[in-house]
Symmetry: C2
Subunit: 191 residues, 2 copies
């Protein structure tokens, strides 16, 4: 494709971004607030801190602190100091927060995607993944992949749990292996 067409494709990405933002905005919470809720719902225990959230959002700790505070005031999130290291905090969704997530405006997209042919869904996902990964990498940012795709992910049984994290040295449940991890390093190369 020539440069002009590639710009048109980028223009579509821009519009998608805007649609995402306005969808979010018109449903009560700010776009970032929704993203925080989604992240907390999908991240594993070690990754539910302000620092991890800051890296995930590509924002600053100040902004994140404020956003968390706003969500706390609405009773959607709790913010407690960690017992191991009292500099850190532990963020969690409240029951209200979890319930609100069922009305996530982002859910219109899976439905739209579902209308596409199966192979097109697959290919679209792969291309998106490539673009996001490349972009994050060129900014020196983490990809925040799923636990089970990590190079430290082990299938050894331990303590009755089916999996094991070789980095943090903890046993992992099946559910945990599908969560987002702050420390995740892709097992497959980034060629």
């Amino acid at each position: 494709m020539n440069p002009k067409d590639l710009q048109a494709t980028a223009g579509l990405l821009e519009r998608i971004g805007r649609l995402l933002a306005t969808d979010a905005h018109s449903s009560g919470l700010a776009p970032v607030q929704w993203e925080v809720l989604r992240y907390l719902d999908r991240a594993n225990e070690f990754s539910r801190s302000s620092a991890a959230l800051t890296a995930y959002l590509g924002s600053t700790k100040g902004t994140v602190s404020q956003t968390v505070k706003a969500l706390e005031q609405r009773g959607l999130v709790t913010n407690l100091p960690s017992k191991q290291d009292r500099r850190r905090n532990r963020l969690s969704l409240t029951a209200t927060g979890k319930k609100l997530l069922l009305d996530d405006p982002m859910m219109v997209w899976p439905r739209a995607l579902n209308a596409l042919p199966e192979t097109e869904q697959q290919r679209f996902h792969e291309t998106l993944e490539k673009l996001v990964r490349d972009r994050l990498q060129s900014q020196g940012r983490q990809a925040f992949g799923m636990c089970r795709d990590c190079k430290y992910f082990g299938r050894e049984h331990e303590n009755g749990q089916p999996h094991y994290c070789k980095l943090l040295e903890v046993p992992l449940s099946d559910a945990a292996s599908e969560q987002i991890c702050f420390e995740q390093v892709a097992a497959y190369g980034q060629e």
Copy 2:
């Protein structure tokens, strides 16, 4: 793909949206301000008004008015009343605005896309276009396509110009036919 995977694809869209926003943010202007500059650069004369911009952004006229004001104060945009209808305004990029657009942070995406195989570029573009169009349509919003893809676009010669708009009844240059039009209605069906 199963629902969980479709959600993962939507998650990638979400992250792209965020990358777009932070890229924009960290380069001086707010994301929306960049979008306004890009729109004004690519829209035809009839479409460079606050009303068209409001529809394009899916925002409100109040917000657009403020955004335009901020860009005016920076000397990137001019805002003049229209002579035909003095309620309307005519927005234009200043020379400074046009120059700034050369540093558009969005330009990293065409480069990233260019790294993909040709067929993958094509397919990705088509899928994106489908998603955006469907989403806009389901919200009852306009698509803002290119003049030459419009059902009112005619290839008749007139006044020395190669094309013609059957809706506004004006001759069109080659360049104008590639601009975004407020009135555009897709020539191909929306099945």
